[in-house]
Symmetry: D2
Subunit: 339 residues, 4 copies
């Protein structure tokens, strides 16, 4: 739509699309609103829309994905999460323990996270574990503790859901629904979160190609939820010096094709405490919009993934370093768009 | 349990386990019943059981998986599916189209499958598709068509479920619930099918290690459903001459560690029509208990995965060849157990 | 060339190609001779050749490889090695220890290999070892022992060369030069063996695509040595239950594109003693022309790769089983060409 | 050795090692000299050395590699190359075209590289090409042009050798011998460059594990050449959005285990022009000692790898950005050693 299009213009376009038997997707941006169409078999004649009031341009998207595409919306999406956002000028830092264990543990980390200046808190209440006999998370009790974190520290809560019941609970207690790597192609779950109105943090699967990753996001958006943040968390390769291989080249690739923000997870991406800070710096330098970091007051006692969690001191050091790099990038206009 | 243990003995052991606060898993075999214990933190003293009547031996399983383990049950499990079974002396052939399209298409294939001597029919009513805009399957209508196939051709129905609702429907219409590669670590779904009493065909994930694959089976069994058949369907590698890379070495590895049957899927494993027969032969030669094969009366018109479906003639040729190899293996006692 | 073309006709075509400034490659087959052309930039007009005496057809090969291509020579190449051959009706078995250690060890294995009916003996005199401090092979002394094996047991010697000096020595003492996986893209070495007149066994690199593998063979043939046998020996993946992942689908792919024989190496391909026989059976069932197998009189004392070597008894069992499958394939005309 | 050990002390230790039948490796550092021992079977009694004059400590290195190990030499090695060095405080930038084509092309790039402040020039005279029919490089003529670049622009020449003859020529004309990814386990070539006295830039193989990479360096050093620089240039994975997957986590891993410098190659590592700058920034942020970058005056006309070469303007932008990040890292003492 044109920058000066009014709501009436937008509504009229939506109505025309629906009358044609298709599904309209209105995605308002900073200055203009993009409207996507899905549900068509074969191409739709742009002539249907070109002469409607307020329409700037009707473009045919020939890629397998539509709603995530830059063709539809050229500027980066800024996704609101609680009282903050991801995808804007500020580097988004999401920090917290792998699993929610006790209120004491959680508050200790949350205090440090809030003090650092970060706006987001992460913690797992439902843990996807390889073994059925491993600690599976505290469930709703864990979510309640995180809801208290929001009250007390003003942090926005990002936490994983593994099934429909989990999604309902995260909607109730949290601010952003995380879909884990193992569920990236759990299409039923993607459709379900697509019907909620909470933002979704979608992690790349261990062996997902770029197209599969983007189409998983498209699954969510095709249901009407356009607030998707992508997350690179390492892929599975033969390399054995880290738990996974972080594939940072996906950041410029995503930035070239889509308007969605992308963050990186160097904690799961490396699985090694001493690699987290260097890879976090690399992630910011490559152009990511944020980081998700595991922090634990006492990593060696963590019930889950202790080997990769940062201590509170290590977290503070990381926070300073990645923001220094982010500032440099901003100052020299090193934004990926420019380079 | 000893071979001469009576039901009373078994019940007494189950009772003792429950009293200790653990979960017992009774798995009857051809001559003896194995009883697994889960729900314990740390090891359980074998002395609790050794002197109970009918107990042959109490073994501590130190591997991350228990119920799938040969330590618990040394002989191969034979899984009943409808009026037939997988894991016994006969090679199990599961054949049918990728997706259920029309009754006519389905009956045509089913007739050829039944005529060949195969006992199982496959067909997808719920299709996990990479794109939200691709054909997603016919749903319950497709399942109804397959239920008719069972009536008419006496074939046992193997079909995929992608979520809890799908599991309920497959339980109603089918004989074996397939869990696809993308859902191999959808732990909520694994737990759910673990609570049904229909056998489960569990496909290996695209980047699943052997341990992850076996622990996915363990998830199902830990809920009380011991009828799990494993399926190798190719892994994702850099190799680009086939859609996936079939990892046949997993067959002897599975046979060494577990009592579960394993079949292979050369259709998805290669994605190339001309490779299906050679890899099917290789799968039988390596010691697999069966095959799952895509057959379509007219592959070039298939709504899904046509490039890999066999014609009815190609299927007949494959059936003859793999059974000839299977007979040779049986005759020369080339069973994996022996070699 | 036509089947009734005489040597004079062939010489005339070679002469014309040379006059045009290109390089001719005459490859005689069972009934006809194929002549390839390399050294051209851009396409060569077929009209130059079509009317020459004895010419059946002039075809433009548009693939990146030419001399290996079935377009150039439709029937399978049968490569002579010493007093036997690979690529014909008989299954070729190459067996022997990983490394040549002592004459006693070598003769013991050679006796068993000869007795089984196999025609080829393998053994490493130059060992490519990951560590500079590991046993590097016995060098020329090892080759001399193998030359004695040929004298004494009538076996044809297949052994690896790692550099030009090694190639010269293998030419002197052996019958077939093996180029190892790590040297598959050592282009200088490929060119060098291309200038010898000994057959070359070319192993696929650990992460080589089909195209890279075929072009490595093309490097050898472009220098004038057309006697190349391909060998699949497993690729590197994330899977950790075997040392490598055998990619058997490359066998039908190679058979579809090229006239070169391909064998498989289940010893290096799995790195596990108990997997060698099942994967050898699978390799024959998939359509390979032969096998290369590590055998050691006392695997647990082997200086190199003991974990994967078969005992003499295991070897005898394997030999019987793979030949039984090969016969079935021949009987039912299951050759890959047919299927 | 102690910091105050004199040459006489060092010589005495070397003599004792040789008398024991082993090979000594003296590696002088900024303040102290480390002396490695190889050629031993089993462990060597530290008592042989502990009481010799000037000896600070005798340590047993139990890792598979010795000379590259931080156990032997804790501080980072600074490798002299011509009139500059890699591994010190300054970020090393090696830039130039993929292949040497014409003097005009080369001088144009060299001028821009020298002007930027970089100290190293790269260019290929011998090109390892997948196809035997692709441009193979200009050979010695290309090396002569690069020797002129050194004269004229004061740049140090880094260029690849593929075989012994190539090594001799690069020794004659260049300053640093590059061993390409495909030759990382060409052990004969590694031994040969280990006997030269020119520094070696060793690229990681496409599917090399960390251990294999380090042991390839150890091969060179075991021959007496201690001037090895490692280079990460991307590994082969299933991901298809870039030509290779850059594995930046190897940088902290190398820095943790070895004293060798490591640089990264985002040009080959991504194969995409638009990804080179972001990944170069990431490489510096992760802690690499330098970068090797392809630059071409007119990428679309390049004979080789044009799709990834930067224009002169893009190169200038990259140079400014990576140095800004490097300064930040230095200022905040973000060196990998500290973090």
């Amino acid at each position: 739509m044109k920058a000066d299009a009014v709501q009436e213009d937008i509504d009229r376009v939506l109505e025309v699309i629906e009358k044609l038997g298709f599904r309209p997707h209105a995605m308002p941006g900073a200055s203009r609103t993009a409207i996507g169409i899905t549900g068509n078999n074969g191409s739709v004649d742009p002539a249907h829309f070109e002469n409607l009031s307020g329409v700037a341009e009707a473009i045919r998207v020939t890629k397998p994905y539509k709603l995530i595409s830059k063709d539809l919306r050229p500027e980066k999406s800024v996704i609101k999460i609680g009282n903050s956002s991801i995808g804007g000028d500020e580097l988004a830092i999401i920090a917290g323990p792998c699993a929610i264990e006790t209120q004491e543990q959680v508050f200790k980390v949350a205090e440090a996270v809030a003090k650092s200046g970060a706006k987001f808190f992460r913690g797992g209440a439902f843990k996807p574990r390889t073994s059925p006999y491993a600690f599976q998370g505290k469930g709703e009790d864990g979510l309640k503790i995180m809801a208290e974190v929001r009250e007390r520290y003003g942090l926005n809560i990002v936490t994983e859901a593994m099934d429909e019941r989990g999604v309902d609970l995260v909607e109730k207690y949290g601010d952003c629904i995380q879909i884990g790597a193992r569920n990236m192609q759990n299409f039923s779950l993607l459709k379900y979160v697509g019907q909620t109105r909470k933002p979704v943090l979608l992690k790349r699967g261990l062996s997902a190609t770029l197209d599969e990753f983007l189409l998983a996001a498209e699954y969510i958006m095709a249901e009407g939820n356009y607030d998707v943040i992508l997350c690179e968390r390492g892929i599975r390769t033969f390399a054995d010096h880290a738990r996974n291989t972080m594939d940072l080249s996906i950041v410029p690739a995503v930035n070239r094709l889509t308007h969605l923000p992308i963050i990186i997870d160097p904690s799961h991406g490396t699985g090694r405490n001493y690699m987290v800070n260097p890879l976090a710096r690399a992630g910011v330098a490559v152009g990511a919009d944020g980081l998700i970091i595991e922090v634990h007051p006492c990593p060696e006692e963590a019930l889950c993934d202790g080997a990769q969690a940062l201590t509170l001191d290590q977290y503070a050091e990381l926070y300073a370093q990645v923001n220094a790099i982010h500032e440099i990038l901003a100052k020299e206009e090193m934004s990926i768009a420019v380079s």
